[in-house]
Subunit: 350 residues, 2 copies
DNA sequence: TTTAGCACTCAAAGAGTTAGAGTGCTAAAT
DNA sequence: ATTTAGCACTCTAACTCTTTGAGTGCTAAA
């Protein structure tokens, strides 16, 4: 495995990404940096095929990269283009400045990515977990029916209705309200944990057993808060890629299977995952390119695209890197004041 | 236009729906009820083509129905199959009994329809509008930041954060809380209207101008409540229909354009609309079959399917009719007690 | 008015041909 | 020991040509 072979592999991948057609020895030999004959390239290509980096759709066609071919290319071979100043300006403009609300910042990044890459953009946002519970309340709303309300310092509002076995009298309600106010107010969302709520259930049960559904409700709400929010935008673009299976794409659009978990894993820098490599999230020939952004020195979410495996990594990766850096920078400035939010939806419980 | 021609038209549509292939005169002549020769049928078919009810994909192919052909068939010609007792049983089982929560009832109906018809099911639910405001509250949650909370008797919870120009002192907050409690508590959701809120703005402004954003927030919340909820399930089925344009289907899955408005129109009985007939909601060769269900004597939502134009109307329409009747029946029994609900989501305001 | 018969049309499917891109191998050149 | 030119070979994609058969419209007889 000498350096010429690697150079040829890189050239094949580049060309395949550019044209979408299997790449032949002649095409490679005509490239700028290549100064060997087509015959030599043919030999090297045969070797690369032997090693599992290239494959032929059929005997008399050119070569296309295999999964390992792409992997090697992405990890070692390609050299990403630098962004020009104009491109940076354009991104800055699309993102918005220091005074843009964080929500919007992330949304803008997604829009920008969709537009520039013509792929689906995926963003997650776990900024809410940096906030602090600013208000927690229990409101009786019907017979045996109580609404739990949870508001955080950054303006997230969550609520949930709970049905109890018995109606609470004023004293009981006051006790509980007081208790949770005492125990949760000012607590950071990150600190909330199942164990914490288990302890609360124990403590509260001592007073009155039937209060525990309320604590359970609170626990579920807090889970919602801690859970990052996942948004996929522009996913219709994936249907124009004929290398992707339409059926799989639609299943993905509808359920976004596994993607959330995949993005919640910790990693640093750019990460590239192929659809077929992962268990849950499986659009056949797709590629997921993501990077994390930070608020202060903590991971605050991720940002990237889903496209066909044959996507212009060289061009797209710098975009994603720039965006995550910029967002991290913008987010780490201000820390107190976030714009209002709005909440609406409905579903059954129990 | 004699009755034999109508019979032939019906037969052609039936056959086309059954086979998906253009239907020729010979195929028709072999059918049970048809006792004329292929030549006669040919003449009639030519006439039907002249009249715009049939068309030929190409000169030497059979006939397929045109839009007007389908229309006539649906409105006048087809005779829907009666549901067998087993089928009714099956539906009853899938729906759930008297004690099933309304939300779930509707959801079950959608699932049943998807399964039986292999099409996308669409349901709307405006049951919440029959409820009564049971609680309205304003909660200060940050500097100049207030959360409005609206809870209805059926358990719907909506909230919205509002930013004011100035902070309210206790007295002001109390005044406002009292005022809206007085004016909204016990009011039915249906009665809420823009004008009503305009009056409130006027009344409140007399006391303190800067309170009006809160009323505006309330107004928006109430609009959410009045607006019916639209759910489309099983829309991936539409991608298996090759008569539908995949791209259009996906755009529809993502945005559900116009469908909500379309379903909010009042009509009675079964309604069939073709995708290409409507302006907003446009999947090329699709057909929307819906019917309204009622709670008491008021429209409470609609229920139906979206499928290819070549869908088995004869079979599907009775299903939809049965389901709407059954749901109307089940809903009109109990009136007070509905199971709890849960609400979560987030977005920016202003 | 209906029907049988017939000539005609057209799309779809299959067979055969060609063009060309790309290969692997061999033998000469460096 | 590599690298290269040359050549025979392979295979697909595109094209043409033919065949098949379903279906038609028209005419003339029933």
């Amino acid at each position: 495995m000498n350096s010429r072979k690697l150079k040829i592999l890189a050239a094949v991948v580049d060309e395949y990404i550019r044209t979408g057609e299997p790449v032949g020895s002649k095409a490679i030999s005509k490239l700028e940096n290549i100064n060997v004959s087509a015959a030599t390239i043919r030999n090297d290509m045969a070797a690369l095929e032997q090693l599992g980096y290239l494959e032929q759709p059929h005997t008399s066609a050119g070569r296309i990269p295999t999964f390992s071919g792409y992997r090697l290319y992405i990890d070692e071979l390609m050299n990403p283009a630098d962004l020009s100043d104009e491109e940076k300006c354009r991104l800055d403009e699309m993102l918005g400045g220091k005074d843009t609300p964080e929500e919007l910042l992330i949304q803008n990044a997604a829009t920008a990515l969709t537009e520039i890459t013509q792929c689906a953009a995926v963003v997650t946002n776990s900024v809410p977990k940096f906030s602090v519970i600013s208000k927690v309340e229990v409101i009786p709303t019907g017979k045996r029916l109580y609404v739990i309300l949870l508001i955080t310092s950054n303006g997230s509002i969550k609520n949930k209705a709970c049905r109890l076995e018995f109606d609470l009298n004023n004293e009981q309600l006051e006790f509980f309200t007081h208790y949770i106010e005492e125990n949760l107010s000012g607590v950071s969302v990150e600190e909330l944990s199942e164990e914490m709520f288990e302890k609360m259930v124990a403590a509260v049960s001592a007073y009155m057993v039937s209060l525990s559904p309320l604590v359970k409700g609170l626990c579920e709400l807090s889970e919602d808060l801690r859970h990052q929010e996942l948004t996929v935008s522009g996913s219709e673009k994936l249907l124009s890629c004929d290398e992707l299976d339409k059926m799989e794409v639609v299943k993905f659009i509808e359920h976004k299977n596994g993607l959330s978990d995949l993005l919640e894993e910790t990693f640093s820098g750019i990460q590239v995952k192929f659809g077929s490599e992962t268990n849950n999230f499986a659009i056949g020939n797709s590629s997921l390119i993501v990077s994390k952004y930070h608020k202060g020195n903590k991971e605050a979410g991720s940002l990237g695209i889903i496209g066909p495996m044959r996507v212009d990594y060289k061009k797209i990766i710098p975009y994603i890197e720039y965006l995550t850096q910029k967002i991290s920078y913008l987010m780490s400035g201000d820390d107190e004041d976030i714009i209002t939010t709005d909440t609406t939806a409905e579903s059954d419980t129990q």
